[in-house]
């Protein structure tokens, strides 16, 4: 189901995103167990009384996880609650050993931020820190040992298996305002968040493994026909939450699907049911997830095991001062300072260490009278292979060698070109029928035969002359 154009002119998407990301601290959020659920060789090897929810377990919050959450908040222009606390969110589910999840209710660490996208700003409502749950695996038992605790499990029995290695791993949740008005914008926003988390080195955001999870709150608002560009005056009176989306592409598809589905319901004069839906990536559809009637009654209350947390304004300012320049700001500055196109820098800036290395290289380029933008382009096209362990001086040297050309007489080049043309009749026919892409093939062939490096532009011109003969 795709939104057709009539619907696109009739309704505007109103969408907010919730992004969960696991923080890559050494230890878990409330105990000293190892935080490495994806690297663990076996299930249930990183647990203790606290993260298994046993009586007597006593949680103590991980300082680094809190500081990283605040760091992300500051990077996203959030205000910081100087006084905050952890609360218990009560519900029953087998992956939650205590029958409550420690989360934050009314005093999240960060609130009221913003992230710019090319479609407009997206307001950040809040960022809070909570503990992840265990991981469930649904399985049909095939073979059981006749002895021990597997004995009661008959062949063919359908069960759920639980691994608590992930239980109480620090999980950050970033919630936006309903400021997202297209699937493309949702994708851009989510990708930028991922980039920032990786750049700040606080999360790996491995989506396949579930290290970063997306949820979209989706509804449609009718567009005012007389004034289509006017801002939406009020929000729709329903919203559909699509959960468990584990790729940017699926999120885009889920939003598009929901827009079509909801538009049809609205066209019939009805209101879509307020509900939680899942994404079926095989059928590319969303489906209703029946939740228990009272599932929203979480009865949050402050966790009595965890004293509140207080920061001073000075603490927060010190954290702000330590914040590195973020990818988007860096891209802008590089464009003005070094003339590096943003389409290059946006691809190149991945980690802080590599970004610093790049800047060092650009500085050397300037000294050597090489355009940093050309150097950046060569990196993108993998014409030179580098890493940050290679010194910038050597990398620029490599680039110089690459862009150096040999002095070759035109006659010599033309004679090779004629050879190449006569040996590749098929490609010539393609070229003559308008397929100009084959010119790259001719350049490559000529270069190889020549065994020397000539200026690409010059070679291209000579080739065109000969081909047109």
């Amino acid at each position: 189901m795709k939104t057709d154009n009539t619907n696109k002119n009739k309704y505007s998407l109103v969408c907010g995103l919730e992004i969960h990301a696991e923080l890559k601290t050494n230890s878990k959020l409330f105990c000293g167990c190892k935080n490495d659920p994806f690297g663990a060789e076996k299930p249930n090897i990183y647990t203790c009384p606290t993260c298994l929810g046993m009586p007597g377990g006593s949680p103590v919050a991980n300082k680094k996880a809190i500081e990283w959450t605040i760091k992300v908040g500051l990077a996203l222009g959030c205000k910081i609650n100087l006084f905050s606390k952890f609360d218990r969110k009560n519900y029953f589910y087998p992956d939650l050993p205590k029958s409550y999840q420690i989360s934050q209710y009314d005093l999240p660490f960060c609130y009221d931020g913003v992230l710019e996208t090319s479609f407009g700003p997206v307001g950040i409502t809040r960022i809070h820190l909570e503990e992840d749950t265990g991981k469930l695996l649904h399985k049909t038992i095939e073979k059981v040992n006749s002895a021990g605790r597997e004995a009661g499990l008959g062949h063919g029995k359908q069960v759920s298996l639980i691994d608590f290695n992930r239980s109480s791993v620090p999980l950050m949740e970033i919630v936006t305002e309903p400021d997202i008005h297209s699937a493309e914008q949702a994708k851009e926003y989510a990708k930028e968040i991922r980039k920032i988390l990786k750049y700040l080195d606080v999360a790996d955001c491995d989506m396949d493994q579930g290290g970063m999870r997306l949820e979209a709150n989706i509804s449609l608002a009718p567009i005012d026909k007389n004034n289509p560009s006017s801002k939406l005056s009020k929000l729709p009176n329903y919203k559909v939450e699509v959960k468990n989306i584990n790729s940017f592409r699926f999120m885009e598809q889920a939003i598009d699907f929901e827009m079509g589905r909801q538009a049809e319901i609205l066209n019939d004069g009805k209101v879509p049911t307020q509900e939680t839906r899942g994404w079926n990536s095989v059928k590319s559809i969303t489906f209703s997830q029946r939740t228990k009637e009272d599932s929203e009654d979480y009865r949050y209350f402050p966790d009595p095991d965890l004293p509140p947390i207080r920061y001073s304004r000075e603490n927060i300012e010190a954290m702000r001062a330590e914040l590195p320049e973020l990818p988007a700001q860096k891209s802008k500055r590089w464009a003005t300072e070094y003339g590096v196109e943003e389409r290059y820098s946006k691809q190149l800036i991945s980690h802080e260490i590599f970004a610093n290395w790049l800047e060092e290289s650009f500085k050397i380029c300037v000294k050597e009278k090489i355009e940093p933008n050309k150097f950046a382009g060569a990196l993108i096209n993998k014409n030179i292979r580098v890493s940050h362990v290679m010194s910038s001086i050597i990398a620029v040297e490599e680039f110089k060698k690459l862009s150096q050309t040999d002095e070759v007489a035109d006659d010599e080049i033309i004679s090779v070109i004629t050879d190449v043309i006569s040996q590749n009749n098929d490609a010539v026919i393609k070229f003559k029928s308008g397929d100009t892409k084959v010119i790259g093939f001719f350049i490559g062939q000529t270069m190889r035969k020549l065994g020397k490096k000539v200026d690409n532009k010059k070679l291209g011109e000579l080739l065109l002359n000969e081909l047109k003969k």
């Binding site: 299930p43 090897i45 647990t47 300082k63 606390k85 499990l153 759920s160 298996l161 009865r299």
Partner: protein
Amino acid sequence: MSNKITTAQIKHIADLASIPISEKEENSLRDAFEETLDVISELQSVDVTGVEPTHQVTGFENVLREDIVNEENMFSQADALKNSKHTYDGYFVVPRIIDEK
């Protein structure tokens, strides 16, 4: 007793607590709940003008730990699974959660 509890409220609370209750238990719980609410009502008559609300009485703040792995406190897989009724391949086993489609 001035506070009244309905059967629906008792069922709701039992559901939230995931504890099945009999009709007999329902009646005794009704009395107990109403009595508790009466005590709360009495507390509400206390004059708390000028008293800051709080949710903890220890006065502690910022009780945090450094991000260090404590191997000593971690269970072996066998110990972690020791009290479980059913295990399979190193996992805890529960009846199938029907959540997928």
